[in-house]
């Protein structure tokens, strides 16, 4: 029997591999491996003070202190942002917490035109012309959305455009829970 064992090894190893493929296949319904998990989760949001768009005021991290807020990185040149826009408006209405916008690597004039054309869902917009704050937040592109709790910690990070499911199933329940605490 012991002599036969080595001959069984390849089959066993392959069975393990197959098991992994099967698990990955079943899991792929809910889990997208190309999605990057954010390491910023449960970390304090980086410090910043942003200029505003045009002559409007910007905002700083201190403005967010003590409240639950949503922060959305967007840009006028980004096509998915345009598609996401109506959802942002809905989110701003239903979440019951302020939504701040950060205009990522954009020309202010373009961003102003973009917001006047589609309407602004944001309480305040800050500009990040060089994308430097984006790097501090661990942003890989736009749009991305963050949820920051009262203590200033990042509690949610979505590196993809919002979807109705993401809003209803993830963001809104989390906002409610965080506001109670």
């Amino acid at each position: 029997m012991l002599r036969r064992l080595p001959y069984l090894l390849p089959a066993v190893a392959f069975a393990a591999l197959l098991g992994y493929f099967l698990a990955a296949l079943l899991k792929s319904e809910t889990h997208d491996p190309s999605e990057l998990p954010s390491v910023m989760l449960d970390q304090p949001a980086p410090d910043f003070a942003l200029e505003g768009l045009g002559d409007k005021p910007g905002f700083a991290r201190s403005d967010l202190a003590g409240k639950v807020v949503l922060v959305n990185f967007f840009a006028s040149w980004c096509v998915p942002c345009r598609a996401e826009h109506p959802l942002l408006a809905r989110l701003a209405e239903t979440a019951g917490v302020p939504l701040y916008g950060i205009d990522y690597k954009d020309k202010p004039a373009d961003a102003e035109r973009f917001l006047s054309q589609y309407g602004s869902p944001f309480r305040t917009v800050g500009v990040d012309p060089k994308g430097r704050l984006g790097i501090d937040f661990g942003v890989t592109g736009v749009p991305e959305t963050f949820l920051i709790d009262k203590s200033g910690k990042i509690r949610f990070h979505r590196a993809l455009p919002l979807t109705p499911e993401a809003i209803d199933k993830e963001i809104l329940p989390l906002v409610q829970a965080l506001q109670k605490s």
Binding site: R3, R4, Y7, L8, P10, A11, F14, A15, L18, Y20, F21, L22, A23, A24, L25, K27, S28, E29, H31, D32, P33, S34, L36, P37
Partner: protein, 659 residues
């Protein structure tokens, strides 16, 4: 109507493949020659049917029949004819048809050339080939039908990805598939041997040429892919350890091990079960390579979810095609009797070392490719495995093997004399030393490891040539006698010498890349840039109109010490349909180094970003692959394969007559 003909012939081919998988097997079990003969007939007819289906599909691409979904999605009426044809396999559905076409071609070839095989072995091999064919045909018909109609048909197609419109990439998949699918023959022989419970030297003699042919094609396919990446991607890299590249590299590594271990089976009747396992693994990795790349699982398992039916089908197919033979192996292999005995220091021992290291190298590439995905699926962290990992693992492992390359052929079968072998390698050691000293003296900046790499290349190359010199007794007998000996050396010996020389050439090309020179500047017309002794002057940048693209074309005059070296015209193309800018690099190669010019963006003020590289010995990377493949082909032309076949045939007929 024509497209339906293609669909119908694929369906018919599936029926035949099913017959081919069962009838010969039953025939072999019952010694029924009629049933066994069905294998050959169905294999050849199946090839004709698949070829017809492929021709129909190609026809649809050529006449731009956009009522077919795949044509509409992947082609465009303005595309050059050549790329309309190569576009057939530039997408999932079409590439699967090409895969089956090549599979059925190999099946037909076994049926055609295998008439001298013992009928039961031939029947079983064909049956296994039939099973693979049936699985793939079913996969195509049920999940990836290339003949799906669109109604209404769009006016024009969506066009083909512009990067695919390149001759290097266009012919890369067929070679890759010739390799992948070619290994199916070795696999079929291995499974047939497991069913029969017998492996002998004649079996190995049959397996080797098929494996060799597949290996040559795969070598060329991988080299083409790497060369394509080198000249299209525009930053001069040629290997990225990308999952897609790794997927084709793994079967090559195990296939190389298989080639070597089959020699031991043939000459010494040893390593039988190991060789069978390698044959199964080689094809298993080919299958995994085909599917996981095609379905995108290596980049993202998510692609499965896009089409769960496809994912499930692939999984079942892999389970049956690989799991089945491995279980059969676990049951049957222990009863195989090992043959010839040998000492650890011997040709056999050297080939075992070769096999061990190649297998470990394959495993390294395998975990390097799959571990990040596995970790992610198991809820671990996200990691990247890039070239530094392979530099630390794969490279030292392969150096271990490369150092031993010249030693192996100098060791005798059964019991080798290591000391004598090393003495015969004095010239090679001297050459390596001279190269090391010369490179250290001349090359700047100094690169210790790269210098060692060049010395290693010299060691392999000169060691390889010493072995040839040894065989013809060069300088020890009169030159005429040596020449006569050289003439009478078997082609197989020349094949090995060439293939190992190719390895040396490739190693030199890789090592020398440490001395790549690079300049990235904004240039204005009239300005010159100096790089490693050359001067490149940007004469002008002008807009030009291609068949399906517009482009900015720069003209560079490259001189060396005032003498004209080349006029180079890199382009920046914009394909009209997809609006995607692509770089078209200009490369001037004199086989000792490449001068590589890329035109970047305009700064809008009359300046252009320009990247210029001078890459010493880089053409040797692919040249070496070519020499390796050539060695394989020379070996393939060896008369012994046919002589061996004839001997076996006489024996088989004698046995048949005795029945």
């Amino acid at each position: 109507m024509i497209a339906e003909l293609g669909h119908f012939s694929l369906a018919l081919a599936l029926m035949l493949a099913l017959v081919q998988s069962v009838a010969p097997l039953v025939g072999a079990a019952r010694s029924n020659l009629g049933l066994m003969a069905l294998g050959g007939a169905t294999a050849i007819t199946q090839f004709a049917l698949v070829a017809l289906a492929f021709a129909v599909l190609a026809h649809a691409y050529v006449i731009s029949d956009f009522s077919l979904a795949t044509v509409a999605e992947n082609s465009h009426s303005t595309k050059p004819l050549l790329y309309k044809i190569t576009g057939v396999w530039g997408n999932h559905e079409g590439s699967m048809v090409l895969w089956v076409l090549i599979l059925s071609l190999f099946g037909a070839a076994v049926a055609w050339f295998g008439t001298s095989l013992p009928p039961d072995l031939r029947a079983r091999v064909l049956a296994v080939q039939g099973m693979i064919g049936a699985a793939f045909l079913a996969f195509i018909l049920f999940t990836s039908n290339p003949f799906l109609r669109l109604s209404p048909a769009p006016l024009d197609g969506q066009g083909m990805n512009p990067v695919l419109q390149d001759i290097g990439l266009a012919i890369h998949p067929p070679f890759l598939y010739l390799g992948y699918v070619g290994f199916s023959v070795a696999f079929a022989f291995a499974v047939a041997a497991l069913i029969e419970g017998r492996v002998d030297a004649a079996w190995a003699r049959w397996v080797r040429p098929w494996t060799l042919a597949a290996w040559c094609a795969l070598t060329i396919g991988i080299a083409l892919g790497s060369w394509w990446a080198y000249y299209t991607l525009g930053w001069g890299g040629w290997w990225y350890w990308d999952p897609v590249e790794n997927a084709s590299f793994m079967p090559w590594l195990v296939g190389t091990a298989l080639l070597h271990s089959a020699i031991v089976v043939e000459k010494r009747d040893a390593l039988k079960t190991w060789t069978i396992l390698l044959a199964i693994l080689t094809f298993a990795l080919s299958l995994i390579g085909t599917f996981l790349v095609r379905s995108g699982v290596l980049v993202s398992v998510h692609a499965f979810a896009v089409d769960p039916a496809r994912g499930a089908f692939i999984l079942v197919l892999l389970a049956v095609a690989i799991g089945g033979p491995l279980i059969l192996y676990a049951i049957r292999a222990p009863s195989f009797q090992g043959g010839g005995l040998f000492a650890p220091i011997s040709r056999e021992g050297a080939l075992i070392l070769n096999n061990l290291v190649l297998t470990v190298c394959t495993f390294t590439v395998f975990v390097g490719t799959l571990w990040p995905l596995f970790l992610d699926a198991m809820g671990g962290g996200k990691i990247s495995v890039g070239y530094p990992f392979f530099d630390w693992t794969f490279v030292p492992l392969s150096v271990l093997l490369l150092v031993a390359v010249p030693l192996g052929p100098l060791l005798g079968w059964k019991r080798g004399d290591l000391l004598a072998a090393l003495q015969r390698l004095m010239v090679a050691a001297g050459a390596a030393l001279v190269v090391a000293v010369a490179v250290a003296a001349i090359a700047s900046p100094a690169h210790a490891l790269a210098t060692a790499g060049l010395a290693l290349a010299a060691w392999i190359g000169f060691g390889d040539l010493s072995e040839w010199a040894e065989r013809v007794q060069l300088l020890r007998v009169p030159l005429r006698t040596s020449l006569a000996r050289a003439r009478h050396l078997p082609r197989g010996a020349y094949g090995m010498t060439l293939a190992h020389l190719g390895v040396a050439i490739t190693v030199a090309g890789i090592a020398a890349s440490a001395w790549d020179q690079e300049r990235i500047e904004i240039m204005h017309p009239g300005e010159s840039l100096a790089i490693s002794g050359y001067a490149a002057r940007l004469d002008k940048v002008e807009p030009i109109q291609g068949p399906n693209y517009t482009a900015d074309r720069a003209t560079f005059t490259v001189t060396r010490e005032g003498a004209l070296v080349a006029t180079m015209r890199p382009e920046r193309r914009l394909f009209t349909v997809q609006r995607v800018p692509t770089t078209f690099t200009a490369i001037h190669s004199d086989l000792l180094s490449d001068f590589y010019v890329v035109l970047g963006e305009s700064d809008g003020k009359g300046g252009w970003t320009v990247r210029i590289y001078e890459k010493p010995l880089v053409p040797w990377i692919w040249l070496g692959c070519g020499v390796m493949a050539l060695g394989g082909m020379v070996s393939l032309s060896d008369r012994r394969w046919r002589v061996g076949a004839a001997v076996r045939s006489r024996r088989a007929t004698a046995a048949a007559a005795g029945d």
